[in-house]
């Protein structure tokens, strides 16, 4: 890989410690619509049992030790999050989501990622935030999407890239190929009007940087990762990048599998356990660095309060957000709880959104990421802060 390193020196040098003097933001998008009444049940709500007791018997077990407070519980599958919550490093924002209440996955996901009004900007809120920030390090790892594609939320900033694993980012050349091969590749991407040219140059720089990184921190794998979970593997990579101080500012991860129309328990037990375990080990792995990281977990909508006939739930409105980090006033549920009575639900039987998800994001972006221009990240919206940032 020596020729790659040579290219890196030619193009740019990433210095350790080149990261921002602000938090790294890790965004986890739960695609499909997380049922927060199931994952974070309001067990003390007088109408909860009527709707949901038969659907998830474990939640109403009086010996369930996973209480968030006197009102809300944590589903048993989220057990790995209990300790983080008790330590005060995790806050729950319940009855949260896009206020418009669109029940199409695509419209709601677009809303979650664009976070703008109908006539507003078409790029993503994270892309808009990053585009407003100085970028002195020019790190090719400044904004990454874990996986194969860059999601809408990162659109609006140049240089955001998809990254799945350090291993997949290695280019192994056959032994008898010439050292000039990577030089020739750089030349192919070196000029011309092709829209991929700049992306290719960035990719070459990333390759060289990751090559250095994997030799520096590659041996230091996490303690006990759930290798079956792509999310766990990807969060491990994020932790490595945070610790290596390569200029990472924002990472976006996506978890599928929450669209539980049928046999909900069977369908989302796996994703729930994977999410909770991945977050717990991520926090463990970061150690003191958790003070420099904020994680936000959001989903495009919740599920209908009444389960359907297939042991599942259909698209609803409010879900919940999780916020994790060393500077989060955690151990608390931030909620303007609407209640589950017939009067409280909307006319389709859905839990209404009482906290716009932009309130959560805006507070993080202003107070933890130091962006004073919130009105440009969320044009036309006046956020109300919940006060979960320290």
């Amino acid at each position: 890989m020596t020729e790659q390193s040579a290219i890196a020196q030619e193009k740019l040098v990433i210095r350790p410690g080149a990261g921002p003097a602000r938090d790294v933001l890790v965004t986890v998008l739960l695609r499909g619509g997380m049922d927060a009444l199931y994952t974070l049940p309001p067990v003390a709500d007088p109408d909860y049992a009527r709707h949901r007791a038969a659907f998830d018997a474990s939640a109403t077990n009086p010996r369930n030790p996973l209480k968030l407070d006197e009102f809300f519980s944590l589903h048993a599958n989220f057990e790995p999050l209990a300790e983080i919550y008790r330590r005060g490093h995790m806050a729950v924002v319940h009855a949260c989501g896009p206020r418009q209440g669109l029940l199409s996955h695509f419209d709601a996901m677009r809303l979650l990622e664009q976070a703008s009004e109908a006539e507003g900007p078409k790029d993503g809120w994270l892309g808009r935030h990053l585009a407003m920030q100085p970028n002195p390090s020019h790190s090719p790892l400044r904004a990454i999407a874990l996986g194969n594609t860059v999601p809408l939320v990162l659109r609006g900033v140049t240089g955001a890239r998809a990254l799945d694993s350090l291993e997949e980012m290695r280019i192994e050349l056959p032994v008898d190929w010439k050292p000039g091969f990577m030089t020739a590749l750089a030349r192919l991407y070196g000029s011309g009007s092709n829209p991929l040219s700049a992306i290719g140059r960035g990719t070459l720089a990333t390759l060289a940087d990751l090559d250095r990184l994997s030799s520096e921190v590659g041996a230091n794998a996490g303690p006990h990762w759930d290798t079956h979970s792509p999310l766990g593997r990807q969060l491990q990579l994020v932790a490595k990048l945070v610790r290596a101080e390569v200029g990472l500012e924002a990472a976006v991860l996506t978890q599928l599998g929450w669209d539980s129309h049928v046999s909900q328990a069977a369908q989302i037990d796996g994703p729930m356990r994977a999410l909770a375990e991945a977050l717990r080990v991520f926090v463990d792995e970061l150690g003191d660095r958790i003070d420099r990281v904020t994680v936000v977990v959001i989903s495009e909508f919740g599920r209908r309060v009444a389960p359907n006939g297939a042991g599942g739930t259909d698209h609803g409105r409010a879900s919940a957000a999780l916020v994790l980090g060393g500077n989060i006033q955690g151990g608390k549920v931030y909620s303007r709880w609407p209640g589950l009575s017939a009067d409280a639900l909307d006319r389709d039987g859905n839990l209404p959104v009482t906290t716009d998800f932009r309130d959560v994001l805006a507070e993080i972006i202003e107070r933890r990421l130091g962006n004073a221009g919130i009105d440009r990240v969320f044009p036309g919206y006046q956020p109300n802060y919940l006060g979960f940032t320290a």
Partner: protein, 522 residues
């Protein structure tokens, strides 16, 4: 369009000897794959190249000469009538190797159960993660793997290139994730339905997918029953919602949640034989589960007592809706012309849809004849599937495609592996970020590291022994990229030819497949 196994056998008997003793089935001797043609024959005009890149999966060595001999107009006309094109008998022989491809549902069902009796875990895609408790004792999944492999083999070798491209188009439009329950094997039957209607009337395709067991399971209509007063359970809305939003109308402001719920009522009782896993795989209408009351969909009254006719009435209503014409027209434009959709062309396709009752062939005829297509106003990125197939075709590689699904998964586009119902995206900015996977594939392909796949460099090696390396390199670039290399780039490639010219050839091939120009359709 679908051939039975008997027909395969008959065609095999007619075809010249495909495989001689000692050579695997995929290693056929085809003059069209000789890499000598990479550096022979005419250079494609921009239009010729666009036709080969967008109506198909890119040129093989010799294809430009064949296209020029036939003429662009005649070629397009023939591609629009795939039944008029005799299929390559060697392809048919290869497809005949896939036992599960042409099975009737009952037979496939038995095979499926046999395969699932015992064995070890080898999940397709990320099913192990999504449904761990369901997939513990399973063997490698033969039906799903054979469909992925057959899809790649068809794209690589079929003479009916446009048909394959349109099957891919509809596969995304009517997305079914193979990793959801019985879809892993029912997708094979679903693929047949799409294939037989790909260039026909949209309404027929829509109805076929509405009754496709894979779709019924994927979008949960198999569990859609009339309101149950005991459990207070309403009908399942999932299929109804995606039918309106993704399959037809597109514009979510054109209907309400009430419309979705009414459509869901119309499709109550449309299901699949059997109960849960291992259903026999036939569509069934269950009158007992159907809500036979009156409904109103998009303002249209549907009288009570119509039974299965309710769903058919909804299909007819949606297929005739102007917004559906617009959805399909825009999507075809985006697919064949690029993200900058020309509004006037969309209008013309909408008019063609309305004039012909949604005839896809008629719409494509208009599209390919348009100035917008001929001039090439916008770029179309090769998604990983097209990138990989066009690399195999462009280099004259021979391949069984047996491991292609794994490579495509690494590049982000495993066939039939998109979880959400909107199908794999087409936007360049989404795919542009994944260059590394493509580069790795190109290096492995050029170096012969992909299973049961090889490029025969013999002709090129003999050629470069007696020819100026620069001329060979430029001719390769013209063949793969449609353009020659600028001097500095050429020099960097020629540096690889010292001192051993022959060793430069696979490196040049890899580099040209990795180049930015190769990632786009012409």
């Amino acid at each position: 369009m679908r051939l039975s196994r008997r027909e395969f056998a008959r065609l095999l008997a007619l075809s010249p000897a495909v495989c001689t003793a000692g050579c695997a089935k995929w290693e056929w001797e085809d003059p069209a794959t000789a890499t000598e043609r990479l550096v022979e024959g005419p250079v494609a005009t921009p239009l010729e190249r666009r036709v080969l890149d967008r109506l198909g999966y890119g040129p093989r060595p010799g294809d430009v000469a064949a296209l020029r001999a036939q003429g662009v107009e005649a070629y397009i006309a023939a591609q629009l009538q795939p039944e008029s094109i005799d299929e390559d008998p060697q392809l048919l022989a290869m497809l005949a190797e896939f036992d599960t491809l042409a099975m009737e549902p009952e037979e496939a069902h038995v095979v499926e159960q046999e395969w699932f009796k015992d064995g070890v875990v080898a999940p397709i895609s990320n099913v192990l993660f999504k449904f761990p408790q369901l997939y513990q004792p399973y063997k490698p999944h033969v039906t799903a793997n054979e469909l992925c492999q057959a899809t790649a083999v068809r794209a690589m070798h079929s003479r009916r290139q446009l048909l394959e491209v349109m099957v891919e188009f509809w596969t995304d439009h009517f997305n079914v994730d193979q990793s959801k329950f019985d879809c892993r094997w029912l997708k094979t039957l679903d693929d047949d339905l799409i294939r037989s209607h790909a260039l026909g009337k949209f309404r027929d395709l829509l109805l076929a997918t509405a009754r496709s067991p894979a779709m019924l399971i994927y979008l949960d209509n198999a569990t859609n029953r009339k309101y149950d007063p005991e459990t207070k359970t309403p009908p399942n809305e999932n299929y109804a919602r995606e039918l309106l939003e993704l399959h037809t109308l597109g514009d979510t402001s054109a209907y309400t949640l009430t419309d979705i719920q009414q459509v869901a009522r119309c499709f109550t009782g449309w299901g699949v034989e059997g109960e849960w896993q291992f259903r026999p795989g036939r569509f069934v209408y269950r009158a007992d589960d159907h809500d036979d009351g009156e409904k109103t969909v998009l303002g249209q009254h549907i009288p009570p007592g119509q039974g299965q006719g309710d769903g058919v009435a909804v299909i007819d209503l949606l297929a005739a809706h102007p917004l559906t014409a617009r959805t399909i027209s825009k999507k075809l434009c985006r697919y064949f012309i690029g993200e900058l959709v020309p509004p006037r062309l969309v209008d013309r396709l909408v008019a063609e849809y309305q004039r012909t009752d949604g005839d896809v062939r008629a719409m494509l005829t208009e599209l390919f004849a348009s100035d917008e297509f001929r001039v090439g106003t916008s770029r179309v990125i090769k998604r990983p599937f097209r990138f990989a197939i066009s690399a195999l075709r462009g280099t004259g590689a021979i391949s069984s495609c047996s491991s292609l699904a794994e490579h495509l998964e690494a590049m982000g586009q495993r066939p039939f592996g998109w979880a959400m119902p909107d199908g794999y995206p087409t936007q360049p900015e989404i795919w542009a970020a994944g260059l590394t996977g493509r580069w790795r594939f190109a290096i492995e392909l050029a170096n012969g590291d992909i299973d049961e796949t090889r490029i025969d460099y013999g002709q090129l090696e003999r050629l470069i022994d007696r020819t100026d390396p620069a001329a060979v390199c430029q001719r390769l670039a013209e063949s793969l990229l449609g353009t020659t290399l600028p001097p500095e780039t050429l020099a960097s490639l020629l540096a690889l030819a010292e001192p051993d010219r022959r060793r430069a050839i696979p490196q040049w091939v890899a580099l040209l497949l990795m180049a930015p120009e190769f990632q786009w359709c012409a």
